[in-house]
Symmetry: C2
């Protein structure tokens, strides 16, 4: 069970975008340089966030990415699931109905208790991530960070 490494990239990119003035954008190249990441691959992953409706992109010169909604309405869960998909890590294939020990269909009307427990754990994980918004993240950063981020992203010396 492993999240793609780009998860960390995108969380930090989103947090950086949340610190921009409303209406301002940052290009994929800028973000890649900002974190020293493979630009092409990062661009591809950013597209996934756009498709998921978390980011909005404007093309053309001085274009780039910005948040599609206020930072307070973007949760960590939405970001993570945008890059990794929303499916549960545990995939029940109804093993109880196969092989010599197969249960009669009559006893399989209710979902398997093991699948239930695994799904419950996944729900707990999702609930925890959904409890934090990007605004919470920005608020928890050192007070000096936002202005510095803004300067470096928009192209200071």
């Amino acid at each position: 069970m492993k999240l793609p490494v780009s998860t960390e990239w995108l969380l930090h990119c989103a947090a950086s975008l949340a610190q921009l003035k409303s209406g301002d954008t940052a290009s994929a190249a800028q973000l890649a340089q900002y974190f020293d990441l493979p630009a092409a691959y990062l661009a591809k992953q950013l597209q996934a966030l756009v498709k998921a409706g978390v980011l909005a992109a404007t093309t053309g010169p001085r274009g780039g990415f910005r948040l599609a909604r206020p930072a307070s309405e973007i949760t960590l869960l939405q970001l993570v699931e945008a890059v990794d998909g929303a499916s549960s890590p545990y995939e029940c294939r109804e093993i109880r109905q196969q092989g010599r020990g197969a249960l009669p269909a009559e006893e399989c009307r209710t979902p398997c208790i093991l699948a239930e427990k695994m799904a419950e754990a996944h729900r707990a994980w999702r609930r925890s991530l959904a409890a934090t918004s990007l605004a919470d993240i920005v608020a928890a950063l050192p007070p000096s960070a936002p202005s510095r981020t803004r300067l470096r992203l928009t192209g200071a010396p």
Copy 2:
């Protein structure tokens, strides 16, 4: 983020072993037949559970696997982490210290807030899984299941 398919296999195998008489064992071949699984691969995964101290194996004729401890002291978390490893799916590589936007070391004394939140979600997941033991699972099965499992595993008609 995906758990190996063998996770489901092993959870069900462990649940089946929990239904055996104390001291009785089931071989990898029996379990594989019971669920219609690739025997060799299942055997490999069962070894992981032995290494993790969840199962105990006895070799030689009439040997096989059994629980290493009472079912009430084996949690789902221990089983899952035995097969998939115990590391968090989110791996923080301290991206905040790299690239043009690198933070000064002074502001990196405390762990990154994003890494914290992701770790917290993982803890919630682990807590949920640790709350259920194999004994709970067996208790929740249909009342007819235990005897049937015992019969089929030990080789009845």
